[in-house]
């Protein structure tokens, strides 16, 4: 980028900012509920300052160079905050693209006499801004992924409670999809709890599992076998009709596993195995 243009952009910084703000405020997708106008302006100003100060004749091709790192840092910060605040990708993209528009507009107004220079400089500006957009998007998506990862971790942590329903009977309601990592956690928790409580029956309730494919079924069989090796019995309950259909269609053999339709029937079966009886007390008064 030539010295002239650089100087020109420096001089016109105020104009660019105003134009950019105007563009942003005119945008229909402006999210006043997520970010205030003042905040938006200070964000924009910060970005423009660092962008224009870092423009030099050599570095516009190479975003990896150290001179760009402050700009990228600011942009990355903005993108991550936006990802956490719940901005859509389009809104985040428009944030950068409207800056490009503003700069191009200013260039067009200022360089009126020399079309060739205008074209050259515009191309360069385009290139830089496109690169910056890519960086923004990368960071934005990274921010989103971090949110998702954190949520996944939380779900795994809270979603495998082992409940002691009776002396010697454990229940483990599974909610959500079973993958290898989760099965491992479920299995470890269950086996540990069996050792600690000395329970001889474990009920695995899968009414909260949306779908059972061959992999999930294999995980279930593994858990049941491991429980059996520990010397406890494992019952699978809460199998919905659709799941029964899929299991049979996939040709999975669950015949050597005790399966019950509901948690209640599994509990009833456990009582029978443990030779317990639940009785209704007669309500006839003694008087």
């Amino acid at each position: 980028m030539s010295q002239n243009t650089q100087q020109l952009l420096k001089n016109k910084k105020k104009n660019i900012l105003e134009l950019w703000m105007k563009n942003q405020l005119a945008d229909e997708g402006l999210r006043e509920d997520l970010i205030s106008n003042d905040e938006l302006r200070s964000q924009s100003e910060e970005l423009i300052n660092s962008l224009i100060n870092n423009l030099s004749s050599e570095n516009f091709n190479n975003l990896e160079s150290d001179e760009w790192s402050p700009v990228i840092e600011i942009l990355g910060g903005i993108a991550i905050t936006r990802a956490r605040q719940g901005f859509s990708p389009r809104e985040t993209g428009n944030f950068v693209f409207s800056l490009k528009e503003a700069i191009l507009d200013v260039l067009q107004q200022e360089i009126t006499d020399d079309p060739l220079t205008l074209f050259k400089e515009s191309t360069k500006v385009n290139k830089i801004m496109d690169n910056l957009s890519v960086v923004t998007f990368e960071t934005f998506i990274k921010g989103r992924e971090e949110v998702i990862l954190r949520q996944t971790d939380e779900i795994t942590e809270i979603s495998t409670p082992v409940i002691r329903v009776w002396d010697g009977i454990l229940a483990l309601p599974i909610i959500g999809t079973l993958d290898s990592a989760r099965t491992q956690i479920v299995m470890e928790n269950l086996l540990q709890e069996i050792v600690e409580t000395g329970s001889s029956i474990a009920i695995l309730d899968i009414s909260g599992v949306p779908a059972v494919d061959s992999l999930v079924a294999q995980h279930l069989i593994k858990t049941v076998s491991a429980t059996r090796l520990m010397g406890a019995e494992c019952i699978i309950s809460g199998i919905r009709p659709e799941i029964a259909q899929t299991v049979v269609h996939l040709g999975i053999d669950l015949s050597n596993i005790i399966t019950k339709a509901t948690l209640a029937s599994a509990l009833a079966y456990s009582f029978k195995v443990m030779r317990l009886e639940v009785k209704k007390i007669s309500t006839v008064s003694k008087s």
Binding site: Q184, E188, V195, S200, K222, S225, A226, L229, M230, G231
Partner: protein, 136 residues
């Protein structure tokens, strides 16, 4: 040479493995145990592996072998006190130890053995009476 003691208690044999098994030790145990079952005509074998923290596929197979061999010699095998980590390892190795009975601890294992042997004896008695009836 280390040896794992095999204790006799009535009609049962007790094996408590207190050390981590290595291959030679396991093979010796297998041989000794089958000999003992034969000599004492035991009805049940109880193997306590609560102190075993490491297993491999070989050990899994030995345990399975012991169970099958005892079965042929008319003795039931119950493995008690398996650690969670050991159970998970065996499953991941694809060794669900079919044909081996398991129990959580010694007490439950003993009860299981008793109930199994009682029921087989009951069957034998019933067979006896049925035979008697036929002869009469």
């Amino acid at each position: 040479m280390d040896k794992i003691p095999i204790l006799r208690m009535g009609a049962y044999l007790l094996v408590t493995i207190q050390v981590d098994l290595y291959d030679r030790l396991a093979l010796n145990l297998e041989a000794d145990l089958v000999q003992m079952v034969n000599k004492t005509s035991a009805k049940g074998v109880l193997i306590d592996i609560s102190a075993v923290s490491i297993v491999d596929s070989f050990m899994g197979r030995i345990i399975g072998n012991i169970a099958s061999m005892s079965k042929i010699l008319d003795a039931e095998t119950v493995v008690v006190g398996m650690q969670p980590a050991v159970a998970i390892t065996l499953i991941e190795l694809g060794l669900p130890l079919k044909g081996v009975h398991t129990a959580l601890d010694m007490e439950k294992g003993m009860n299981l053995l008793k109930s199994m042997i009682d029921s087989t004896e009951d069957d034998a008695d019933e067979d006896q009476t049925a035979d008697d009836l036929i002869t009469e």
